[in-house]
Subunit: 492 residues, 2 copies
């Protein structure tokens, strides 16, 4: 009856793909590595955007829009950044097609329309933005400059997965300029906190906040802060990053300001972003073998109402109650849908909205109405209960709050249960292979050891957690002294 | 004292550019033909998006997102469409850069990373969307399919102007699929009406609704509906289009549906869009030689409050009144700013916000407070008045309504005064050269005559107006019979 999806234990990757496709979030496209975000998936993104955009504005940021293309020479200006992205970018070389003289009706690239300088489709916008900031920043009066952009970016990925890694994706990128290093650092951590709070409070996904190791750091950054979440297969997902860029881009693009004493200084910078990848994390963190499980605060539909009737008369009676309920739900700002189409049977609808992860399902039949009650099923734990018609909208609203909280609690417990402290190399490998999750271990701080661990186990340092106390210890590989445990994991 | 801008009579094009740059709406970028939309300009776009998005959703549309790239072969599938855009598109041919072996630190396109098939950066998304709809549409149950996308598109323009014509621009594009031609046509005109109403009610710009002639029609459409506005220099601006695509794209991409009798039919299609070009029209329709004049419903700031003080003590007294006013304005949902910075003098601020087109300026000094009043200046007609503090927020709110209405009335009058009926070729040329605006004339309906008029005068048929009565007449050029007057104009 229901669309079939693969179970998690059978094939986790297939389960994930089934959820995305059959849950109606996204679809493959005819363009290699690019996906189509379907209306249901895009509605999730709209909710994410709405909440974050409000937070950005509350903290003084404004939105703007910069060009899609970056001239190659500008791309080269900040060397680290350029090297980091050169291997995976889409390059525009021509600006015209023309009729194919050999095959009528076909088009070929017009060789006479070659660009003097190639354009890179932005993989991120530091270069184009900092070349612009040079004209906008003259004095301390122009600072801080707090700008965010909602945009599409392209990174030519060889192995792609819907939402998690696609050649084109949607994101927001904040780019700020400050008078001092302290102010820029404080902006960096402020935005990290906004991401962490959003992912926990709205997406109901527990996260660890931390700092990247040198080798995992964003090219061009001095320090990369990140939020890391854990998926149900024990692999980590980087959910958002906030970079302290120091004066790297200011120097590359010669952006100086006159301070209050009229001294010229390079400005200090940050950049920070989250992307449609968040939707992949949302799906993998909560869903089960019956389909998606969406947290109420992000779900495009929070309540689905399904009538159970055998005749038009019965339906009319049900309609009266439902219309009152819909009005009451609307007054409470709850997103609902009344699926009274007669194209499908109730059983089909139950399975369909279960697949789509709608937090609450309300079924209304005549027998229920006689008892002045309705049947309500929670999607998160699939429990069924009967709720009185009296004050029903309020009861549903409270249930939505409960679900949101329960999903976060579950995610927090899962995260805590999957941060495993190990002190030997053998235990490290054993935990990584058998239990999965984050492995908390001492590391000597060198890129060589990090690389060796990666080569042997595929695990990377996800982050040096911000909230872990210092602790004397020995590196699990080299036995050299270490002052703090870091978190390793296999990752998406 | 104020930033200088060129006057309209001196150099209209320069006046327009000055407004955009000095009003802080946009900036040139280092990428040929692409602009940077600055926070103030982007805030205007956000208001446009917010209102239109609500209208689209109210009429049953959902947002989705399709890939930026269109494979060349897919681009070719609908011939008319492909030919229309082939001459002005950005072509991605490679997916990687590599270090330049000759110039250290420089990058070159990696010849080993040539794409098997070139990708076109979307100039519009019919091709990519219809290749996707093929998988989404099987039966009448899947129809109508009502989807909109907010996105960036690229058309490689040789001569660009900020907002009016840029190589990359932001827009929305609706793409719908229907069972019948009638339903698709009714969707086409419904969306045209939404555009017309938005442009009049929110942007306060009067428009003419009409149909394009064959030669001005969108490539790939059966019929193109449009809204045309008139700028202050007498030139027309196409502000939005809504296309009835017939079955052209359904046939090109083989999109059929089983109807209720299980017969297979090609679906009927529409597409419709408005872009950041609207901002250019907004600027040119209303502004004056002192700067921008923004209609309250679209203005990012509706009220600017400026304190007039000589000492910190005076400022404290003023602050008390202003904070009450701000609270009252916030309660009414009015967008305001209190510019109490001491970096600039009041006179500078007056000029600055006049330049930025803020609809109402409230100046508050001690002398005013003693009289329990404030000085209020309207941006649209620059009249000054003193308003009592009592119920001030409500008075300002009413004034904003007055301004909105006055701006629309002015625009309507201007439009009516600049639709000139002519019956001879001499009068046609005279009116076009001396008075400008729309010239309402009989035309024989042929592309040859249309082309001849264009070659001689540069005027094009802007539209065949929807609301003009049929009328027997003779073509101004060929004297052949004609049944309806059409509107000619020079256009952006």
């Amino acid at each position: 009856m229901s669309k079939e999806i693969c179970s998690r234990t059978q094939d986790y990757a297939q389960w994930y793909n089934d959820l995305i496709i059959k849950g109606g979030l996204a679809d493959y496209s005819s363009v290699r590595g690019c996906m189509v975000i379907k209306p249901y998936g895009y509605a999730v993104w709209e909710h994410i955007k709405e909440v974050l955009d409000k937070e950005f504005k509350r903290t003084g940021h404004q939105n703007a829009y910069f060009p899609l293309f970056v001239p190659k020479s500008m791309f080269e200006a900040e060397e680290q950044n350029a090297e980091g992205f050169a291997k995976e970018c889409a390059v525009v070389t021509h600006y015209r097609l023309k009729g194919d003289p050999v095959h009528k009706g076909k088009l070929i690239v017009d060789p006479d329309a070659k660009l003097e300088e190639e354009l890179i489709v932005r993989p991120t916008s530091e270069a184009i933005i900092w070349s612009t900031y040079k004209n906008w920043i003259q004095s301390y009066r122009d600072l801080p400059l707090l700008i965010n952009q909602w945009a599409n970016v392209v990174r030519w990925e060889m192995r792609t997965r819907l939402f998690l890694r696609t050649s084109e994706f949607l994101w927001q990128e904040g780019h700020t300029a400050h008078e001092t290093a302290e102010e820029a650092l404080s902006e960096t951590t402020q935005m990290l906190d906004i991401y962490a709070r959003f992912i926990e409070d709205y997406m109901a996904v527990a996260v660890v906040k931390g700092v990247k190791s040198d080798s995992e750091r964003f090219a061009g950054a001095v320090q990369t802060y990140c939020v890391e979440a854990l998926m149900q297969d024990g692999k980590a997902l980087q959910a958002g990053t906030s970079h302290f860029l120091g004066q790297n881009f200011a120097k590359a693009f010669d952006v100086k300001f006159a301070d209050k004493n009229n001294q010229m200084n390079f400005v200090w910078a940050t950049s920070w972003g989250v992307s449609t990848r968040l939707i992949g994390g949302l799906v993998m963190a909560h869903s089960d073998d019956e389909g998606l499980v969406l947290p109420p605060k992000i779900a495009p539909m929070q309540v689905i109402i399904i009538p159970i009737f055998k005749s038009a008369e019965e339906k009319q009676t049900i309609d009266i109650t439902v219309h009152q309920l819909m009005q009451a739900l609307a007054n409470l700002g709850i997103r609902y849908k009344y699926d009274d189409s007669d194209k499908q049977r109730p059983g089909w609808k139950f399975a369909e909205y279960e697949m789509k992860g709608v937090p609450l399902r309300v079924a209304i039949g005549l027998k229920d109405l006689e008892k002045k009650q309705v049947e309500v099923v929670r999607r998160d734990n699939r429990t069924k209960q009967f709720l009185p018609l009296d004050q029903l909208a309020t009861s549903l609203s409270n249930l939505l709050d409960d679900i949101q909280q329960a999903m976060l609690n579950k995610s927090k417990e899962y995260l805590q249960d999957h941060i495993t402290r190990v002190d030997t190399w053998d235990d490290f490998k054993k935990v990584l292979n058998q239990k999965g999750g984050f492995v908390s271990a001492h590391w000597d701080g060198t890129a060589e050891t990090e690389e060796k661990i990666k080569q042997t186990t595929k695990a990377t340092i996800r982050c040096i957690p911000l909230e872990t106390p210092l602790e004397e210890g020995k590196c699990i590989v080299t036995q050299k002294p270490s002052k703090q445990r870091v978190l390793f994991a296999l990752a998406y």
